[in-house]
């Protein structure tokens, strides 16, 4: 059983194809592991019956020679994705017992390729958070612990459940979403691989919206190749999403393992921020050395507006969220609170239904869009956003990809940063820039810190150039040879 769950997606697919084991066997092993891992709080809804039913159907298709690219592979689904007839909450009280009567395009793509759903994964409420502590279901506990310590650490957020589940071998891969770093930072905190593709690669249809112009779905996986396999299935043009890019989806896995000789890798000097732990600085240096050894040319680049990305993000994202979350009003679905009149019912519903961080962001978003503040805040942020995107355009004149740390720290203790919103927001300082610019970026586990916690390095590519990102990520993964696994304590 533990053998089956410790497989990579790639090797599991090979095993299924060669009939070394069945999908029902593989799925049953994962179902049992998921049950045993409840102390992690990674799943907010387990769907073992559905999983085994899907697995049996997969086995039938394999037997009939009709296997899809992910046939029989059990995955975890972030609770932000609507899955037909299976409760979706976005980890908020406000959705109550919402049962979507539709299937998101991304999960439909995965299931169409034969993937099996183990259940819905925990996350920050409406994907707003960097530590999973805003979830209405309580935080996910990072499977990793400080060497010799027993403190509960955050798996990062918002896709903390996805990252923890993959790190703890609860699933072969998981869907996730990234609005400011929500795939990459949890991947870095859990020793997993996570890629946020180019904005528009994955359809947003059926994914609960946080900030529409920034949200992108992507996978969290055990290896770069697994991430590539998953993204190939998830991505694709969708006429139901007006921002979906009408482009072909390449076989991303075919770029993993390719030579990176001659590629120019940019190192942005502005990412050397004050107070960054020395270990991260040295891991970054190590990453540069590995890529140089692999034949890359290293160039220093400047992204002068980097420090303004987070403040710009904290206008754009809350503004969009304040409007996107207006539909949670208790009228057509979800929680409806009591009140003396309609306005009170709205106000009480939303006060009781939304958690503190979501309320704070809705208020900020409402404020920056309100009369008299729009130009000073919202419009200004959109202009700064343009400046940030232009920084990248300039960088692409001298390099093919960028290498940066993923996060400014390793996983921290639960409760450690909840009192200081800005300290929490700073988690995303290296990741948020690519959401603003719409660029693909991946986090690859590259080492551990002195306390034995995983650290990630981020690679950023040109728009729609996931190919180069995967190639370089593959080279980095190979050089780093990161094999550590969290010691099982649950």
């Amino acid at each position: 059983m533990s053998e089956l769950t410790s497989l990579t997606l790639k090797s599991a697919l090979e095993g299924l194809k060669s009939r070394a084991f069945s999908s029902v066997e593989l799925t049953a092993a994962h179902v049992a592991t998921v049950e045993a891992a409840r102390p992690l709080n990674a799943f907010v809804l387990e769907t073992p019956d559905k999983a085994l039913e899907m697995a049996a159907a997969s086995d039938a298709r394999i037997a009939a020679g009709e296997a899809g690219a992910l046939e029989g592979a059990p995955l975890g689904i972030k609770d932000l994705f609507c899955t037909r007839d299976v409760r979706a909450t976005a980890c908020s009280r406000i959705l109550g017992n919402f049962i979507p009567q539709y299937e998101s395009t991304v999960t439909a793509n995965l299931f169409g390729d034969g993937a099996v759903m183990l259940g819905k994964l925990n996350m920050d409420e409406f994907a707003m958070g960097s530590s999973n502590e805003t979830s209405a279901f309580g935080p996910v506990i990072n499977p990793w612990k400080i060497e010799g310590g027993n403190q509960s650490l955050t798996p990062g957020g918002s896709s903390g459940g996805s990252a923890a589940a993959v790190a703890a071998d609860l699933c072969l891969g998981a869907t996730a979403t990234d609005t400011g770093g929500s795939i990459r930072q949890p991947a870095a905190f859990t020793g997993t691989v996570g890629i946020k593709p180019t904005y528009g690669r994955c359809s947003r249809w059926g994914v609960v919206a946080f900030a529409s112009s920034l949200d992108q779905a992507g996978p969290i996986a055990k290896t770069v190749e697994d991430a590539a396999i998953l993204l190939t299935s998830m991505a694709g043009h969708d006429a139901k999403d007006s921002t979906s890019l009408d482009v072909e989806t390449p076989d991303f896995a075919s770029f993993v393992g390719r030579s990176v000789k001659g590629l120019r890798i940019g190192v942005p000097k502005e990412y050397r921020v004050d107070g960054m732990p020395a270990e991260i600085e040295s891991l970054w240096e190590q990453g540069i050395a590995w890529l140089r050894e692999a034949g890359c040319e290293i160039v220093e680049v400047s992204l002068p507006h980097t420090k303004y990305a987070l403040p710009a993000y904290y206008i754009v994202a809350p503004a969009e969220a304040s409007s996107n979350l207006a539909r949670y009003d208790g009228m057509r679905y979800g929680l409806r609170a009591e009140g003396g009149n309609l306005t009170e019912i709205y106000e009480n519903t939303r006060a009781q239904g939304f958690g503190a961080e979501v309320q704070r962001r809705i208020l900020i978003g409402t404020y920056v869009l309100s009369a008299g503040y729009y130009d000073a805040y919202y419009l200004k942020a959109l202009k700064v956003r343009r400046r940030i995107a232009e920084d990248f355009d300039r960088a692409w004149e001298t390099c093919d990809a960028l290498l940066t740390p993923t996060a400014p720290s390793a996983a921290f203790a639960l409760g450690e940063r909840t009192a200081d919103p800005i300290a929490m927001y700073l988690n995303d300082v290296f990741t948020v820039t690519t959401n603003l610019a719409g660029l693909p970026s991946i986090s690859v586990p590259a080492g551990v810190d002195a306390q034995g916690l995983p650290l990630g390095l981020q690679l950023i590519g040109r728009a729609l150039d996931e190919a180069t990102v995967f190639s370089v990520a593959g080279a980095l993964e190979k050089a780093a040879a990161f094999r550590s696994k969290p010691a099982k304590w649950w």
């Binding site: 609507c82 059926g206 994914v207 919206a209 529409s212 007006s242 969009e320 409007s323 207006a326």
Partner: protein, 499 residues
């Protein structure tokens, strides 16, 4: 500008007041599916039957724009002689209401698809004035709240939610209540001619928001000269008025209300009001403390709308003849008066009916019969020209009978009544009912001679006072059951009486 809306003066206790109006007309696009979803648009479906998951604003649902609706907006813009903006954008207008599922309306705020244009509006007397169009934009309609099915709850039907509307915004160029109605009438005629909206006001497919303010004489001219709204009074917006009569009533009531407040030393607060047709009053929709702040911003689910100029040209090539052009042509081609041509073009179907009937006939006569007798009968029986029981060919035949002296105009009225009653073609009615006009001078002379002999006193009177001839004409017509040719009767009488 030469032709401007005529001023309408209200005498107050403290002096004269004038009105200033700008209108926002919401016209439902005649599309099969909604602006941003594939759900059907229509009337009469059961509750929430024409609702998609997008229209119900389920989590994660996204809008996709309907090409046909964009085309209709461009078409309408061209019909309003307006600027087509090749790049426009959709914005969100945020507010909470149970029939607004998303919590925002997708509309166009900063960059509408159609910019400035102008419309020539006819008054009833045939004169006209110009109303400048500020913009036309596309937006979603809301759903419907039903308040009278349950005393303790409101029922919401989202069938209408997401339906495409064109909002046509005028400049404050309208100065009198009846001119506001005339403006709406003209916009409706243009939309119906273009086929971009069915113009059905009863179903709410065309409705107007009327912005009303009052000012002292002279202030408006200062506003027009400077563009400074400070010269005008604060305005109130009366929402969703859906008949010409209500538009006038609402304006008249609202103007008097505002004047009373001002004359009592109060001031007008900009607000949204509703017109209650049963009471003939407007009332405030929401309290002042709830002042709206819609927080418009670009909809991040949508990208800029970019229109290929070739598309605009292609649409231009398919435009039908618009009411102004049609009016001019009817005048020159058929020799109609401005008034008749104006009435006929006020309704595209009416003009088409006229043209079908007028071919080869006396066009003025055809116009008279179409505008007066036929339209009058249709209105009386609640019918439209499209559902007229009398086809154009029968009106043409009726006029032909008059032209060829088979019947008189007077008899023609009798024939028309039989036609209206469904008795068939006019010639057959004339035949069957023996209504053929008597033009045989011998028969008329016999009657004339007999009447003169029987009424010597009257005959003397006519010789002294020729206007009295009418009495004899009446008597002859009476004797001959109205079938005598009136011209022949006159001529014979004059000859016999020597006048």
């Amino acid at each position: 500008m030469s032709e401007v809306s005529g001023t309408y003066t209200i005498k107050g206790r403290t002096g004269d007041w004038e009105l200033v109006m700008g209108l926002e007309i919401h016209a439902q696009v005649a599309s099969k599916s909604k602006l941003f979803s594939g759900a059907a648009v229509g009337f009469g479906a059961g509750p929430n039957e024409q609702v998609s998951l997008v229209d119900a604003a389920m989590p994660g649902m996204l809008p996709v724009l309907n090409r046909f609706c964009v085309e209709q907006a461009i078409r309408t813009g061209l019909g309003l002689q307006a600027q087509i903006n090749l790049k426009s954008r959709f914005d969100r207008k945020n507010y909470f209401y149970p029939d607004l599922p998303q919590g925002y309306q997708i509309s166009q705020f900063e960059f509408p698809i159609v910019g400035e244009g102008e419309v020539l509006v006819e008054r009833d007397d045939g004169s006209s004035f110009i109303v400048r169009i500020e913009r036309l934009h596309l937006e979603q309609d809301a759903g419907k709240s039903i308040h009278d099915l349950d005393p303790n709850a409101t029922y919401v039907d989202l069938n209408r939610s997401g339906t495409a509307l064109m909002e046509i915004v005028s400049r404050p160029d309208i100065r009198a209540p009846e001119e506001a109605a005339a403006y709406v009438k003209k916009i409706r005629a243009i939309l119906v001619t273009l086929g971009t909206c069915d113009g059905d006001m009863e179903k709410g497919n065309l409705r107007a928001d009327v912005n009303v303010s009052v000012c002292r004489p002279g202030a408006y001219e200062k506003f027009r000269a400077t563009g400074d709204f400070g010269h005008l009074g604060n305005r109130c917006e009366i929402k969703n008025v859906n008949s010409y009569r209500y538009i006038q009533q609402a304006i008249e009531y609202e103007a008097r209300r505002q004047i009373e407040i001002l004359e009592d030393g109060g001031s007008i607060f900009q607000e949204t009001r509703l017109f209650d047709p049963t009471k003939g009053e407007t009332r405030s929709m929401r309290s002042k403390e709830d002042a709206m702040d819609y927080r418009y911003f670009p909809d991040p689910d949508l990208l800029p709308l970019v229109i290929d100029p070739a598309w605009v040209e292609a649409i231009k090539a398919t435009l039908p003849e618009l009411p102004d052009a049609k009016k001019a042509r009817l005048q020159s081609q058929y020799g109609l008066s401005a008034y008749d041509a104006g009435v006929l073009t006020g309704d595209g179907d009416l003009a088409a009916f006229f043209e079908a009937a007028a071919a080869g006939r006396d066009a003025k006569l055809v116009a008279n019969w179409t505008i007066n007798d036929l339209s009058g009968s249709l209105a009386r029986d609640g019918l439209t020209i499209a559902s007229s029981p009398i086809p154009p060919s029968d009106i043409a035949d009726l006029v032909k009978l008059i032209e060829t002296d088979v019947i008189s105009s007077k008899i023609a009225r009798v024939v028309f009544e039989h036609m209206w009653a469904g008795e068939g073609a006019p010639a057959a009615i004339v035949e069957k009912r023996g209504l053929v006009q008597v033009t045989d001078t011998g028969a008329i002379e016999a009657v004339v001679d007999r009447l003169i002999a029987a009424n010597p006193g009257q005959a003397e009177a006519v010789k002294a006072k020729p206007q009295a001839l009418g009495w004899f004409v009446g008597q002859v017509m009476k004797e001959m059951a109205g079938k005598a040719n009136p011209a022949a009767v006159n001529a014979i009488l004059k000859a016999r009486l020597g006048v």
